[in-house]
Amino acid sequence: MGFPHTPHERETLVLSKYFGDTDAIGLDGWRKRGGYVALEQALKMTPAEIVGIVKESGLRGRGGAGFPTGVKWSFMKPGDGKPHYLCCNADESEPGTFKDREIMRWTPHALVEGCAIGAYAIGAEVAYVYIRGEYTEALDKMNAACKEAYAAGILGTNAMGTGKTVHVYVHKGAGAYICGEETALMNSLEGRRGNPRIKPPFPAVAGLFGQPTTINNVETLVAVPHILTNGAEWYKKFGRPDNPKSTGTKLFSVCGNIQKPGNYEVTLGFPFKDFLYDLCGGPLPGRQFKAIIPGGISVPIQTREEAENTPMDYEGFVANGTMLGSGGVIIIDDAQNLVKQIARAARFFAHESCAQCTQCREGTAWTTKILERIVAGDGTHEDLDTLLEIGENMTGKTICVLSDSCATPVTSGIQKFRGDFEALIKRKKVHMVPAQVA
């Protein structure tokens, strides 16, 4: 449900049912809505049983990569004598994405419960929720929810009277897009610069404080209580009948040049065309959609025609040349200078590069400079080839994928909207050449 919109009849409200309902924010209100029933149930089960149900449900990571959650959890070996950790990635900073923010604003206890279940399932006694520093309201709500949960005995060394230890701590970030990358997040949490780490070792082997760690997105964790309460079969029903690989509901954040921006929750596989025109109200009066970025700014740009043929699930987006990513849908219409927006996206990555890897540090900066030069009317036709070449050198060659993410909108933009770039280049400014002194 796209707060402040009223829910559309074609939405499926599971995670967003209580968005905009101020009574659901506090513990009492949350309990009245069925809160903490799933945690109580989970603490009576064995961790392996919980992992089994989540695996069976087909739930996949909602942060961007789409890795099956139950499989990820099963990498955490029980009884290895080491402390395990759960990190909740609430460093939502992929441009175009603002779903986790709404989850934490309106239903903070849903996340506390999801973290508690997740921690118990992977044999961890501590879960850290890493929230980006800019989300002041989400931070306040989450801190208050944790405080209430401790006071009510839900969290602590005797969680819900079971004698089990479950801690959930909120950790405030300090402004760095890269900390949404899981290994950078762990470094940041440890009190270091947020530089991504080389993998392997993967977090399940040596993660936070060198111990086995699982990192899950906010939306992934809040889906877990629903799966435990209603069963894996119930969750699997949401999706395209011909695609069992993508199950459940997904929150899509919609922004840019569109009638009704906001968050919408639909079942995976929902037709993108209906989503854009029916749920979100279509383009602004007298305009047309030109380019659509469906999964946050890091995924390839789609043309309007491509987007209109896409079913909204992991496989559907890939089959249509892009990715579901974080579900941040950015709409750019025909009144915009698309090249300027791609340049702006590149500048974002240049600003956010941690500068560890040369390809990224140099590549993001030069990509931005060249694009800004084209926008200013000083571009050449060779610039496009240079950009594509830089893009190739930035892809698959660095510690993390920030570099690839910068190259993606640029490369796909040039491939699909080359005419826009060439039009700007043709309009090249004529610079006065000073007369030679004889």
Binding site: S93, Y169, I332, R347
Partner: protein, 180 residues
Amino acid sequence: MTHSEMGGVRAPGDVAHAEHGSYTPVFTGERRKELDELFTRYPTKMATLLPALWIVQEERGWVSSEGMAEVAELLELTPAYVKGVVTFYTMYHQHPVGRHFIQVCTTSPCNVCGAEDVVNALLRHTGCEELGVTSPDGKYTVIEVECLGACGFNTPLMVNEKFIESVTPATVPALLASLG
């Protein structure tokens, strides 16, 4: 790209990165208790570095060299290490900023909805000469910030710790008046 285009804040010419006069420690009384409680949450003292720096900034409005040194000693780190971490993140101020620190999101989703017009309106109405430079009366500092994560509520901005959504050039004067 210039420093201010990258979202940086320019230090006023006459202010060093150190506080004037004698330094009074931040971590005394309640604040010290708060830090001790934080120590119990993590297996290392170093993990409390970001929260500790936030406490310094909440108390002083910025993180000075002395503040970094105090944190370093409490967390058994070196001041150089702490500075390395402080400079990595964009939200710690390394010198004083205006009373109202305004961060406007101008990343692509907000940009296509007119965020640059909001920035221009803010510069005009605050008397700030340019981005990242505090207004002559010391009241305002305006910077561009990368994605605030409120892309559906254009244009979002932050004034200190307060998040304000759906700002347009027309609502800027009323917004500034409400800040006082």
